[in-house]
C-alpha cells in the first residue's frame, strides 16, 4: 500500500433539521480500495458529495487534504480536475452516443475546431485495451449491458487521469459474471496505484475486494480497520450498534385473522430482461398488525408493493387475496376498490400534485367515495378533508394551501390522509418518514400505531432499521428480491435482521 493520498478531516455537514455528518474523518492511500459501509442515511453519500464538489466549500465544515495540501472545491469540475471521479449508481452516459464519444464527451480531440474522429476512436481503443476490455468503441452505449456500461464509465474516469475513483454501489445491477470482471479490473487498477473508495451494501463483496473498511453510522465514523482484522458479523454490529430509540411508542396490537395475502409476486427488471427484482415473494398481513419489510436499497421492497398495487409495468406473477377471497388487481384502481391504500415513497414524485391544494390532494384517491361519481361536492370534500387535517395535525393556514409550500412532514401527512380517505383495509407505507424531521416522524409513528389499533393491517417498508424494528409486530427481510428471513417482534434484533438483509440466509 502506498502513501496517503487523501485525508478528509472532521467533516461536518448539516441540512435543515438534520446533521448529516458530524466530524467524520476518512483517509485514502495510493493503490488502496477503501470500503465505506453503513445503513441508508448513515452519511455515505453526503461524504462523497462533499469530496466531489457537489456541496462546495463553505457549505461543509472540516478539511479536504489532497497530496498534503488543503483543497476547496468550488464545483464538480474542480474536483474532477483534481483527479477525483465518481461513478454513481445511476450511470451518466449518453445512451445514443458511441462508447468513444461518451469517454471523451466535452473533451473531444479537435483539429481546427473540428472533432478529429480518427484520434477519438484510436485513443478510446487504446484505453479499452489497457483495461483488457473487449468493447467496441464505436458501439452505441445503449447496446451494451449495464455491466459493460459501468466499465465504460470507469474507462472514462481513467481517461480524465482520475487518481481517486469512487464507486457507489457499482454491482447493484450486475450479474455475478459481470461482478467478477469488474473486480478483476479494480484489482488491476489498484496495482497501478489508483486509489478507490468502494461503497456497497453487499458485505461479501466488500470483504472480497477491500483493504480497509470504514463504518459510518448516524453521520459519525465508527472506526476504520484493515479488512483482514474484521469479519461480517463485527461490521454488522458496528453498522447497527445503537439501541432502538425511545421514540417508538410501545404498542401491543391484538392481532386478528389475516386480511391480506400475497403469493408468488415476481417482478422482472424492465431494463434488464431476465433479471428478477422480486422473485416469488409471498407474505400475509393480519388485521391490527404492523408487518415490517426490511431490506437494503435495491432489495426489491418498493417493487414488491408496486407490483401488488398493479402499478409495476414488469410484473410477472401475482396472486392476491383479501379476507380469503382471491382478487384480480390489474391497476391501482382495482387495488383501491379492494381496500388497499398505498402511501408511496418519494412523495413529490409519486404522492402529491404540488401545485394543488391540500384538500384536492387529500381527496384525489377517494374522490368518487367522498364527493360523487360524476359531480363533485366541494363542501363534502372540505368537511372530510378538514377532519383528516385536524386528526393528523397538519400544520397549514388552511386546507386550501398549496401542498408545495408545506414542510416535508406535513406533505407526508397529506399523502397519508389521501389514503386514509379511501377507507382502506390494508395500508402499505413505503418509506413513510423519509426526509422529515424528528417531531413529524414521531407523529407518524403514533398514527401508525393508532391505525393498527383500530384494526387496519399495515405493511411498512423502511430503510431505517430502527423504524422497522420499533414499529413492527413481525418483520420479513428481503435481499435481492427474495425473502431471506422472518422474525417475530421479540426475535428481531438489529444484528439478525441486518445479516439477512446483507444476504446471509437464515438457517431454516
Amino acid at each position: 500500500m502506498g502513501s496517503e493520498l487523501l485525508a478528509m478531516k472532521h467533516i461536518t455537514k448539516s441540512f435543515p433539521g438534520v446533521k448529516a455528518l458530524d466530524g467524520v474523518s476518512f483517509d485514502l492511500n495510493q493503490g488502496e480500495i477503501h470500503a465505506l459501509v453503513g445503513e441508508n442515511g448513515a452519511g455515505k453519500s453526503t461524504l462523497i458529495k462533499i469530496l466531489a464538489g457537489v456541496y462546495p466549500h463553505p457549505q461543509y465544515g472540516g478539511q479536504i487534504i489532497l497530496d498534503g495540501s488543503e483543497r476547496r472545491f468550488a464545483n464538480v469540475r474542480d474536483a474532477e480536475n483534481a483527479g477525483i471521479a465518481i461513478i454513481f449508481q445511476e450511470l451518466s452516459l449518453v445512451k445514443e452516443l458511441s462508447v468513444a464519444e461518451n469517454i471523451f464527451l466535452g473533451r473531444e480531440p479537435r483539429r481546427l475546431g473540428v472533432i478529429n474522429w480518427s484520434a477519438l476512436y484510436s485513443r478510446a481503443e487504446k484505453l479499452l485495451q489497457d483495461l483488457h476490455l473487449s468493447i467496441d468503441s464505436r458501439a452505441p452505449v445503449q447496446n451494451l449491458g449495464i455491466g459493460q456500461q459501468q466499465l465504460v464509465e470507469i474507462a472514462k474516469a481513467l481517461s480524465q487521469e482520475a487518481r481517486i475513483l469512487v464507486l457507489d454501489e457499482p454491482t447493484a445491477a450486475l450479474t455475478e459474471a459481470e461482478v467478477e470482471t469488474l473486480f478483476e479490473i479494480l484489482r488491476k487498477l489498484r496495482e497501478r496505484g489508483v486509489a478507490m473508495i468502494y461503497i456497497s451494501h453487499k458485505l461479501d463483496e466488500v470483504f472480497q475486494i477491500s483493504n480497509r473498511i470504514t463504518v459510518l453510522r448516524d453521520g459519525q465514523s465508527i472506526g476504520t480497520e484493515p479488512t483482514s482484522s474484521l469479519d461480517e458479523a463485527r461490521v454488522i454490529s458496528k453498522m447497527v450498534g445503537r439501541e432502538v430509540d425511545q421514540i417508538f411508542p410501545e404498542a401491543k396490537h391484538p392481532h386478528g385473522e389475516a386480511v391480506f395475502e400475497a403469493r408468488n409476486i415476481t417482478v422482472e427488471d424492465p431494463t434488464v430482461p431476465g433479471k428478477l427484482l422480486v422473485d416469488s415473494v409471498s407474505f400475509f398481513a393480519r388485521k391490527g398488525e404492523v408487518l415490517g419489510i426490511a431490506g437494503l436499497m435495491g432489495s426489491g421492497r418498493s417493487e414488491l408493493l408496486m407490483a401488488i398495487f398493479g402499478a409495476h409495468p414488469a410484473r410477472k406473477s401475482a396472486e392476491i387475496s383479501i379476507e380469503g377471497k382471491q382478487i384480480q388487481i390489474a391497476n391501482p384502481y382495482d387495488a383501491i376498490k379492494h381496500g388497499i391504500g398505498f402511501v408511496t415513497e418519494d412523495r413529490k414524485r409519486y404522492g402529491l400534485i404540488l401545485d394543488q391544494t391540500i384538500l384536492k390532494n387529500m381527496t384525489l384517491a377517494g374522490l368518487r367515495r367522498l364527493s360523487g361519481r360524476f359531480f363533485t361536492d366541494e363542501d363534502a370534500e372540505a368537511a372530510a378533508g378538514e377532519r383528516a387535517a385536524r386528526d393528523l395535525r397538519i400544520k397549514a393556514p388552511s386546507v386550501y394551501t398549496e401542498t408545495g409550500t408545506l414542510s416535508g412532514g406535513n406533505q407526508q401527512k397529506v399523502v397519508l390522509a389521501k389514503w386514509l380517505l379511501t377507507n382502506p383495509r390494508v395500508l402499505f407505507l413505503d418509506e413513510p418518514t423519509r426526509g422529515i424531521d424528528v417531531g413529524a416522524k414521531q407523529e407518524i409513528y403514533h398514527e401508525i400505531n393508532r391505525l393498527a389499533a383500530e384494526g387496519l393491517a399495515i405493511v411498512l417498508v423502511s430503510s431505517e432499521l430502527p423504524e422497522v424494528l420499533g414499529l413492527s409486530d413481525r418483520v420479513i427481510v428481503l435481499h435481492e428480491g427474495r425473502v431471506t428471513g422472518e422474525f417475530k417482534r421479540e426475535e428481531a434484533t438489529p444484528e439478525a435482521v441486518m445479516s439477512c438483509a446483507t444476504g446471509r440466509r437464515l438457517a431454516a
Binding site: K337, F342, L354
Partner: protein, 385 residues
C-alpha cells in the same frame, strides 16, 4: 404551534391571477375608450354597444375553441389540428346543407368529435406525443378539405344556418335570460350556504354572500342592457356563454375535471391514485373535437361560406388565449374563466387596434408581445412566492 387548520374560503393564488388579468383587461379597455374619443364620440367609441357587440362576435369562435383547448392543455397535451378541423367540419356542414339544417349541423359536430376521438386515441393508447399527432392532423385534415371541396368556396344557403353567426336574440328574451341567470346565481349561493352548514363548515359572512350574489348579477344585467341597445345579444355570444359555463362546470365541479388537473399536474401521482389516464386524455380530446365542430358552425355562419382555408391559425389563437389566461403549457394549471378572458383580451386588442387604424404589421407585433409579456409576468410573480 400545533394550530389545526380551519378551512375558510380564502383568496387563492389562482384567483389572484384571475384578478390580475381582469385588471389588465380593464386597462386595455379604458385605453382604447380614451383613444377613440373624437368629435362624434365624446365618450369614446370602443365600449359603445355597437362596437362592443361586434368585438364579442369576433371572439366567439376563438372563445369556444379556447374552452376545449384549455382542457387538452390542462391534461398535459396540446391540439394543433383544430384550425384544420374547423375548416373541415365547416366544409362538411356546407356540403351537406341539402340534407336539412339539423343533419348538416349535427354532422359538423360529429366530424369534430370523431377526429378528436381518433387523435385522442393515438395520443392516449398509442403513446404518440400530442404535438406530433395533431401536427399531422393539421396537415392531413386540411388535405381532406381540399379533396372534398375541390378547392372551392361553398356558400351557406340555409337562412337559419347563416343567422346563427349573424343574428341577435330578441331583447325581451335577453331580459328573460338575465332574470334566469340572476335566479341561478341566488339559488347556487343559498344552496352552497346550506351545504356548508350541513357539513359543519364555517359559514360565509353575510357580506361575502351579498357580494357573491350582487357582483355577478350586476355584471350580467349591465351586459344584457348594453347588448340590447345594439339589437340584442348576438347568437354566437349566447353559444360562447353556454360553452364557457358548461366548461367551467365540467372542469371545476366534476370528477372528470379534477382528474384532468391531476393528470397534468403529476401523471405518476394520478395513476397511483387509481385514475385511468388514457380514458380521461381521450375524453379531453373528444370534448375539444366536438367544440371545434361547434366553432366551425359559428365561423361558417358568420363568414357566410366555407372556404378551403377557413380556420387557418385558429389553433394558435386558442392556445394564446389559454396562455394569456394563465394556463401552463406543462399541464395542471389553468381555468376556463382565464381562457375566455384571454380570448377577450386578444379580441379587444384586435378590435381596438383596427379602430385606431394601427397598421397590420404593428397589430401582429403587439399581439405577440402581449402573449410573451403575459407569461413573463406570470413567471415573475410565481418566482416570488
Amino acid at each position: 404551534m400545533n394550530q389545526p387548520i380551519s378551512g375558510r374560503l380564502k383568496l387563492r393564488t389562482s384567483a389572484l391571477r384571475a384578478y390580475t388579468m381582469l385588471a389588465a383587461l380593464i386597462v386595455i379597455w379604458l385605453f382604447f375608450q380614451w383613444a377613440t374619443i373624437d368629435q362624434y364620440h365624446p365618450f369614446g367609441l370602443f365600449l359603445g354597444p355597437v362596437n362592443f357587440s361586434k368585438l364579442l362576435q369576433q371572439m366567439a369562435v376563438t372563445g369556444v375553441l379556447a374552452v376545449g383547448m384549455l382542457m387538452v392543455i390542462v391534461s398535459g397535451n396540446i391540439d394543433l389540428s383544430i384550425g384544420a378541423v374547423v375548416g373541415l367540419a365547416g366544409g362538411i356542414a356546407a356540403l351537406t346543407q341539402g340534407w336539412g339544417l339539423v343533419p348538416c349541423l349535427a354532422f359538423a359536430i360529429l366530424v369534430g368529435l370523431v377526429i378528436g376521438a381518433f387523435q385522442g386515441a393515438l395520443v392516449a393508447y398509442f403513446n404518440i406525443p400530442a404535438f406530433i399527432v395533431t401536427l399531422g392532423g393539421l396537415e392531413s385534415w386540411r388535405g381532406v378539405i381540399l379533396k372534398l371541396t375541390k378547392g372551392a368556396t361553398i356558400p351557406v344557403e340555409l337562412p337559419f344556418f347563416r343567422s346563427l353567426g349573424r343574428d341577435f336574440i330578441d331583447p325581451r328574451i335577453g331580459f328573460v335570460l338575465a332574470a334566469l341567470g340572476v335566479a341561478g346565481i341566488v339559488w347556487t349561493n343559498i344552496r352552497r350556504r346550506r351545504a356548508r352548514q350541513r357539513h359543519g363548515l364555517t359559514p360565509l359572512t353575510a357580506g361575502a354572500i351579498v357580494a357573491r350574489i350582487a357582483i355577478p348579477s350586476l355584471v350580467l344585467i349591465a351586459f344584457i342592457f348594453l347588448m340590447n341597445k345594439a339589437g340584442g345579444v348576438p347568437i354566437p355570444v349566447i353559444f360562447l356563454l353556454a360553452v364557457a359555463l358548461a366548461g367551467a362546470f365540467l372542469t371545476a365541479n366534476t370528477t372528470f375535471g379534477r382528474y384532468l388537473y391531476a393528470i397534468g399536474g403529476n401523471p405518476d401521482a394520478a395513476r397511483l391514485s387509481g385514475i385511468n389516464l388514457k380514458r380521461y386524455v381521450l375524453a379531453a380530446f373528444c370534448v375539444m373535437g366536438a367544440l371545434a365542430g361547434l366553432a366551425s358552425i359559428l365561423h361558417t355562419a358568420r363568414v357566410g361560406s366555407a372556404s378551403p382555408d377557413a380556420g387557418t391559425l385558429m389553433e394558435l389563437d386558442a392556445i394564446a388565449s389559454c396562455v394569456i389566461g394563465g394556463t401552463s403549457l406543462m399541464g395542471g394549471r389553468g381555468t376556463v374563466f382565464g381562457a375566455v378572458l384571454g380570448a377577450l383580451i386578444l379580441a379587444s386588442l384586435d378590435n381596438g387596434m383596427s379602430l385606431l387604424n394601427v397598421e397590420n404589421w404593428a397589430q401582429y407585433v403587439v399581439k405577440g408581445g402581449v402573449l410573451v409579456a403575459a407569461v413573463g409576468f406570470d413567471m415573475f410573480g410565481r418566482r416570488k412566492t
